[in-house]
């Protein structure tokens, strides 16, 4: 059935030692043509806390889950990309416009966009996530209702925009006007929330590669977001994932779209500077 992927795998096995075929040493090439950087030199701002290398969450998944992401025909996240392509072309709101009215073909206009978000918006005087920018266009260019943060429509649109940057390195700016937001996110990353008193770093910095009960801990990178999760069979935004991880420490969570999660997203994204944009990735 999956002829292309099988071919790609066969070629791969022939050229590389079988030990490197799966697991933490596996290589990811989408559709046999887009190479994805899943291990990259650690950005300087990390000061070596993750060692020399940063790693995509893809490397920590089972062979089966890994394979599901290798070909767009197998990747269930691509269905949502198709749906977003339809809403890209749909006129909505008081101005009689669609996304396409201003941005034409996303394959051209949205190339490279995902890789630099979240980023500082000079006019608004704030750090914006991709979702915030999409809603800004809806409200102020189209005269349409904003979409609900991290819910179906907007997450699918983020996936469509992300696909145009697949294989390009994440490259979010952390200096200049974004710096104070980045610092806020960094402080959150090391805060031990909740009755379990666990920080993001406890699990994703000190223990990546280790099992916590049945879960294989990754570095908690967000280069693959939005992520299709086999667990809930839909696309998930990074803020929903942050919320779930904080809830699991028996803490009061923050809300998707909150200023706190925007700051955390900027910081976590910057920990992945150099990894490829992978979205929509597949995880368990």
């Amino acid at each position: 059935m999956n002829f292309k992927a099988t071919l790609a795998c066969a070629a791969f096995v022939a050229s590389v030692a079988p030990a490197a075929f799966a697991g933490e040493d596996a290589e990811l090439v989408l559709n046999g043509e887009i190479p994805i950087v899943t291990t990259a030199p650690a950005p300087a701002h990390l000061d070596g806390v993750l060692g020399d290398e940063i790693k995509s969450g893809w490397l920590f998944r089972s062979d089966e889950t890994q394979a599901t992401q290798m070909d767009d025909f197998d990747n269930p996240g691509m269905i949502f990309v198709d749906q977003a392509q339809a809403s890209w072309d749909t006129v909505e709101g008081s101005e009689g416009k669609s996304c396409a009215s201003c941005h034409n073909d996303p394959a051209e206009s949205m190339k490279g966009v995902r890789a630099t978000y979240p980023k500082w918006n000079e006019e608004a005087g704030e750090v914006r996530t991709l979702a915030m920018q999409i809603n800004d266009c809806r409200e102020n260019q189209m005269g349409a209702e904003p979409w609900k943060y991290d819910k179906g429509d907007i997450v699918s649109m983020e996936a469509l925009i992300s696909v145009q940057s697949r294989g390009m390195p994440v490259n979010v700016a952390i200096d200049g006007p974004a710096q104070s937001t980045w610092e806020q996110g960094k402080e959150m990353y090391y805060t031990r929330y909740g009755q379990f008193e666990l920080s993001c770093a406890n699990c994703h910095e000190d223990n990546f590669g280790n099992m916590i009960r049945a879960d294989h801990l990754s570095q908690g990178q967000i280069n693959g977001f939005p992520v299709y999760r086999l667990k809930n069979t839909k696309l998930n935004g990074s803020h929903s994932r942050f919320k779930g991880c904080i809830r699991d420490t028996r803490a009061e969570t923050f809300n998707p779209g909150s200023p706190e999660f925007v700051a955390l997203e900027l910081y976590v994204a910057s920990r992945g500077n150099g990894l490829s944009v992978e979205a929509p990735s597949v995880r368990n």
Binding site: R192, Y193, G194, Q195, M211, R247, A251
Partner: protein
Amino acid sequence: MMKWIAIAALSSVAGMASAEAVAPADVQFDDYGAVEVSLSGTPGDAANGAAIVGDKKQGNCVACHQVGALADIPFQGEIGPALNGAGDRWTEAELRGIVSNSKKTFEGSMMPSYYKTTGYIRPGDAFTGKAASEPLPPLMDAQMIEDVVAFLATLKE
């Protein structure tokens, strides 16, 4: 005699299992983090302790620790050291201290404190993600701690 009656009355109000339970705020840790006095006043039940250590809904210690004596429980974690031989390495008082509040023994430990009710950042109402106000119910009650300690004491190499 008077004191005994007073405590009994108090604890029945609080709904505690044992008349002599030490409240979480009153636990005495020594300089190395050990707790000499039984928290419940009732000897621990090692078999029940084993069940608590392995149960996802109770101690869930195997989320982070491997326990050879509980080999039938799948998916044991690798965050902390394996607990095999813990009963050789630590006294009962030390084990009681580690389970009650590991940070008094291991500074900055990732291990949660199971008999502590205050001092949290954004404490939540169990796993709902909603806010809760302190004091929270401890993660385990006094008798559960004693049962777990009794089980750990049986772990000899």
